[in-house]
């Protein structure tokens, strides 16, 4: 019984910690995946004009650059991306303009990367935000945000033309087949977003071996400010820019972009506060449980004292046992907590059902996130509180007479 209580308590703490971490990081990771990355490499002038998405300030020779980055930072997954603006033109049956609308485009590796874990399709959560059609499987296929497709009056399978501007500023035209439509859950994006394979975008915008950015994602799949700082520092020394050239690569971490810096710091603080409050509560509960566990055994102590055992020894064994209970409970609890957290991390808890258009990219699915901390966070309250409780209960051994304790057995 006492082990069970400790285990349940510890399991809850572990689970909760993973849950809070997941919850707090949801929006951060969402932003990272869609646009900011954990770190990203862009040209110096691109960084200065980042809000304009200036494709003319894109990085060149990105294959080599990406390779170099992968060699220097094997712990980071690097992907080339192109963010661009353009116009989508839908033809009528004669191939002439039927409707047009402005679009914000993202070119990512949809085709060559494995579609399984680690691929961009998975990273962006494409499959679950798909509304109609399917994901691109072939060259020349494109995804449109659902609202945008409705506005243009196009359906999966239709041909649409992207009118963009090349890196050199020339107008460019490129045909796509609409593979499917997406819902992002954010109006700005839903109104006019297109997602296409980066190779298609390169062809379309005449950006051979170029990309507006090389985005890096940490191996853990989650942002870490410390790691980002390390990577950035190493980048500065490995990719020096003595002449302050406009087009040399610079690195931005997630925290440097938008108001993400503030956001990350606050999320961490908030997560820490909640965890602390909960740990405090849990410690009190386990303390109480330890206390109760000790009190339960007053009768037994009475007998042991009557049989000539020293109070000190009884007390010590009580404490030892509580240590054992604490450890056993913590181990079992951590295991269970991790298991449940893992379930929630893998499958997620869909809270978006009651919302319109339940499938969307914005985090309506809440996931836990297991961090190394979860492996030991339960032990501290699990053991310490249990032992403190037992120790307090043990004080009773000294306070009461043997006969009284013995009587407790009856009671």
């Amino acid at each position: 019984m006492p082990i069970l209580i400790v285990a349940v308590g510890v399991a809850m703490s572990v689970f909760l910690h993973a849950y809070i971490t997941g919850l707090m990081n949801d929006s951060i990771e969402m932003n990272a995946k869609l646009s900011f990355g954990h770190v990203k490499v862009v040209t110096k002038s691109f960084a200065e004009n980042i809000s304009q998405m200036p494709t003319d300030l894109a990085l060149l020779e990105t294959t080599a650059l990406k390779e170099k980055l992968s060699k220097e930072f094997p712990e980071v997954a690097w992907v080339e991306r192109i963010q661009f603006g353009g116009l989508i033109d839908a033809p009528d049956e004669n191939g002439e303009t039927k409707s047009q609308g402005p679009a914000i485009g993202i070119g990512i590796d949809l085709l060559s990367a494995p579609t399984g874990r680690g691929g961009e399709t998975e990273r962006m959560g494409m499959a679950k935000s798909l509304v109609r059609g399917r994901l691109p499987e072939n060259k020349g296929e494109i995804l449109l945000s659902e609202l945008f497709s409705q506005k243009l009056g196009v359906n999966p399978g239709d041909k649409i033309t992207l009118i963009g501007s090349t890196m050199n500023g020339a107008m460019s035209y490129y045909n796509f087949f609409l593979a499917g439509t997406l819902s992002f859950g954010v109006q700005v994006m839903d109104k006019g977003t297109i997602v296409a394979d980066i190779e298609d975008v390169r062809l379309a915008l005449d950006m051979e071996d170029a990309a507006t950015e090389i985005t890096g994602f940490f191996g853990s799949g989650y942002f870490s400010a410390d790691l980002a700082a390390d990577v950035k520092e190493k980048f500065v020394s490995n990719f020096p820019n003595p002449e302050n050239d406009e087009y040399s690569p610079v690195m931005l971490s997630l925290k440097d972009q938008g108001s993400m810096g503030q956001f990350v710091d606050l999320s961490n603080t908030m997560g820490a506060i909640i965890t602390f409050v909960f740990m405090l509560a849990m410690s009190l509960v386990l303390w109480n449980a330890g206390l109760l566990g000790g009190i339960r055994r007053y009768g037994e102590f009475g007998i042991r004292l009557a049989m000539g055992e020293e109070k000190k020894h009884v007390y010590r064994t009580l404490v030892y046992e509580s240590v054992m209970i604490g450890i056993a409970g913590s181990v079992v609890g951590t295991a269970f907590g991790l298991f449940f957290a893992w379930l929630l991390q893998t499958y997620g808890l869909n809270l978006g059902d009651s919302m319109k258009g339940s499938s969307m990219m914005m985090p309506t699915i809440i996931r836990a996130r297991i961090t190394p901390v979860d492996f030991y966070i339960g032990f501290l309250p699990g053991i310490v509180s249990t032992v403190i409780g037992a120790m307090l209960a043990g004080v009773g051994i000294y306070k009461r007479k043997t006969s009284q304790l013995f009587k407790e057995l009856e009671a």
Partner: protein, 391 residues
Amino acid sequence: MKIAFKLAFRNLIGAGLRTWLNVIVLSFSFVVIIWMKGILVGWDHQAKNDMEQWEIGKGQFWHNQYDPYDGFTITDSHAPIPSEFKPEIEKGEMVPMLFAQGTIYPQGRMQPAMIKGIPASQTLLKIPTHKLDSVTDAIPAIIGEVMARSSHLEKGSRIVLRWRDSKGTFDATEIEIVDIFSTTVPTIDVAQVWINLETMQEKLLLPEQATLFSFANPEENRSEVGDFRLKTKKDLTAEIDAMIETKNKGQSVFYIILLLLAMLAIFDTQILSIFRRQKEIGTYVALGYTRQQVVTLFTVEGAMHAVLAAALAAVYGVPFFIWQARVGFTVPMDTSEFGMAIAPTMYPIYSMGLILSTTIIVLLTTSVVSYWPARRIAKMNPTEALRGKIQ
């Protein structure tokens, strides 16, 4: 029943530390749940309030063509101000605005910007439009902080703004940034330049025309006036609702776990109480209590935890809540990139309903958890119990 409460209370206090540990944990649940819910309510309120005060008033009328997400619609989104609106505009209860696409040239680079004309004299919205009356040889303009940052502009900066009038003729002139305002509503900040409506109407050759109106009187039921159609505050803030709803659900998992934890403690305590106090139970029965009454007694005792917890929560929670409501809490949420109004600092709002419902929920769960082990009493053999035999 009265005696049951008295007894329960005495028993609980008598248990000392054990009770207090439970009560403290339970009081945490109270405080944390009320606080977190309060933050959400406050956030919701503030986000909507900010939108109301900065942008939409009690609602807006949009020109039929106007679609904020499609820049191409802007050029055609204007019509003469309906005469119906004029009295309201004169009273300051309605603010007409006229939009146009423009281009600014900070550091020799072209940058598109939406030019918004708003009456300098308006006081309905918090945009500091009175600054637009500044006397300068350039056109006085105000911009938001985000815009200032992304375009590297500051107060006193002068840049060339180029636009085309409604006939298509280019016009360009220097504007002077006379003020930079800080708002939580990105839709009036990002890539926008505010100038005086009259200047705008004159420059665009669109006298007495507007793209949209924000109004102050929600009561009047007009769904369409001329070329303008109504957008209620509810329509305009729907995205905030959806967001708050998701956050609320995300948090409730936390409440549940916290409550579960507290319940675990009470459950454990109850079991021990019943285990150790069998003699007492036997005595009650011997004294003529029905078993049900004894069960009630123990249940009340357990539930009393919640009452004490509520009292304790009030002792440290109330000052905490008041302090929070005053200084606010900086919520780790900034979705301004996505175009939603999120204030960096939230001031929690606690409604009576929130406090009551939380109290009732905690009280009910505690009662259930207390009752659960107490049911065993009903199955006890009173004589055995009296003798203190473990059953």
